[in-house]
């Protein structure tokens, strides 16, 4: 018995690193529900509908000619990229905000917490499994994008960068979702708070930026185009960050007030880079707090 236990211990160490039971369980159970199929179906349906509508409208507006203008295909690509970002913002909180509180409500969490799995393993496995499902969905939209490639105008490297950005935003929203799922006992509250935070990240930061820009421009002493710190506000916004990947000049514009003449100083870095730095820090903090609050701790 003792020898078995010793053997078991040795096995645990390397096995747990390669094959994590919680992750295995999450993968299996997620794909066994019809919900996974329907999520995929409606997502593809929505993005397909948007793409076809956009193509149709562009066609009509360009006079219905036989040729397709690469500039227009670029606009379509921008549109589709933004639409996809919107869909991810809609999907990520829904897929992650219930992963822990859901187990708590189904009364399976206590059983999981009395096993040898660490809090970090449980939380991170749930994040990775949700992210994997989202990646599957986003990757499945590539055929829709390929329509744009038929007409040209977009470079593959741009496409790859956009998809990496999606991965990052899914990680960010997923981390917040999991944090609230761990903090709040009820899924309903966790979902509402996560969507609230998502709304703030998308809408609130933009609003804040425009308010601050206007306040700075109201200043009677600065009426020439100049570098301003206001750009740091819009760096919190994922739409602006994605746009700065598609059109790098936006980063310069964000840091310039009273546009019209060239600014003297350049933007410190591209908006999407600053965005990534800010949200990497926030997501790591969110995950850390989420892990800490999963199990009861001694109050020292």
């Amino acid at each position: 018995m003792k020898e078995q236990a010793a053997m078991r211990k040795q096995d645990i160490n390397w096995r747990n690193k390669l094959i994590n039971p919680v992750l295995n369980k999450e993968f299996k159970l997620r794909m066994r529900t019809p919900r996974a199929m329907w999520t995929l179906f409606f997502y593809l349906f929505a993005i397909g509908l948007m793409a076809l509508s956009a193509i149709y409208l562009t066609e009509i507006n360009s006079g219905g000619g036989q040729s397709f203008n690469p500039e227009e295909s670029k606009v379509l690509f921008y549109f589709l990229s933004m639409a996809q970002l919107g869909l991810i913002a809609f999907m990520a909180p829904g897929l992650t905000a219930g992963v822990i509180s859901g187990e708590r409500e189904k009364q399976t969490l206590n059983l999981l917490l009395t096993t040898q799995q660490s809090s970090a393993t449980i939380v991170l496995s749930k994040l990775v499994s949700s992210l994997s499902f989202m990646v599957l969905i986003v990757v499945s939209t590539i055929p829709v994008y390929s329509m744009m490639f038929l007409y040209g105008g977009i470079s593959p490297s741009q496409l790859i960068l956009v998809f990496l950005f999606y991965l990052f935003i899914m990680f960010v929203l997923g981390s917040f979702g999991i944090l609230f799922s761990s903090l709040f006992k009820r899924t309903m509250i966790s979902v509402i708070v996560t969507y609230g935070v998502t709304l703030f990240i998308f809408g609130g930061t933009a609003l804040l930026f425009f308010v601050v820009v206007n306040m700075v421009e109201q200043n009677p002493y600065s009426n020439t185009a100049s570098y301003s710190w206001v750009g740091h506000f819009i760096a919190w916004n994922p739409v602006a960050a994605l746009y700065s990947i598609l059109d790098p000049s936006i980063s310069e514009q964000a840091f310039t007030v009273n546009m019209g003449s060239p600014s003297t100083k350049h933007a410190p870095m591209a908006l999407w880079q600053e965005f990534m730095i800010i949200y990497t820090v926030l997501s790591v903090i969110a995950l850390w707090v989420g892990i800490r609050s999963l199990r009861p701790r001694l109050k020292l």
């Binding site: 096995d11 747990n16 299996k28 159970l29 066994r32 009861p296």
Partner: protein
Amino acid sequence: MSKNSEIEIINVDLQQNTDGETKEAADREVPMIEIKQLRKVFGSFQALKSIDLTIPKGTVFGFVGPNGAGKSTTMSILATLMMPTSGYAKVDGFDVTLHPQEVRKRIGYMPDFFGVYDQFKTVEYLHFYGASYGIPKAEREELIPQLLELVNLSDKKDAYVDTLSRGMKQRLCLARCLVHDPELLILDEPASGLDPRARIEMREILRELKAMGKTIIISSHILPELAEMVDEIGVIEHGEMIAIGNVADIQNKLRVKRFLHVRLRDREEEAEAFLRDRPYVNRILRDERGIQIHFGGQDAEQSELLHDMVSAGFQLISFSEAQTNLEDVFLEITKGGEGIE
């Protein structure tokens, strides 16, 4: 800090004993559960008020008390799912707050309410928990059929968990508790909501576990049925242990004298009112089976009561003295404890 060093001393002691026999003796000295002045406060509500409890290895301990008395809270603390407000709880010498991982290795916990992953098959369910306890696959392949055999679920091994009946799910959960061969089983109402047949099956399994030498702490409504296998019972009320000991001791302590069972043809309500004013009648319970009286008197008083009831014109079908057993003690305690002196 002092708790830490205490644990270290125990561990060192165990290592130094090279002689198998002495080691066993030392092993026995460390109680499986040691709870000292354990308190748990939720806001202004005191769930536990200074609980002390020591359970030696190999003991089957029955935890009795009305709903909300603090049984589940104590068990949750032992299962590392809740932090005590003050005091400490140790499992096999390991403090539940300082060494939760060590404690988790040693316990199999079955909560009063639990859920299952419906999309898993029975075998997959056990494989998942086995893996979560770090048991290698090859070992699990051997172990899981044995566990399913123990809980009589071998024929359901490929069934989806959501198709199992409640009793089967309870047994599956018990098998899950055993997957890592824990020394201590913490079973919170393992038979709640089960039909009589399922309760009997659960009891048989527990008997086997006892024979395997497991330490078991069990809170249950089937405790009366477990009377012969429980070594000790502890009675908890309003967050305080009011009695600990074997069944006979507890009965004495609670001064339950005798239980009279009366069946009438009619006028039960009137009879209840009549009895209420009689001397030596401590408590009256009326249900579909008749009237139960907790009676404090001896034979003479009992015969007098019978005489008076007949004289008062009540048509008795039966008037009998019931055997006092653990169930009565349990009823006595869980129905509000008016009879406890």
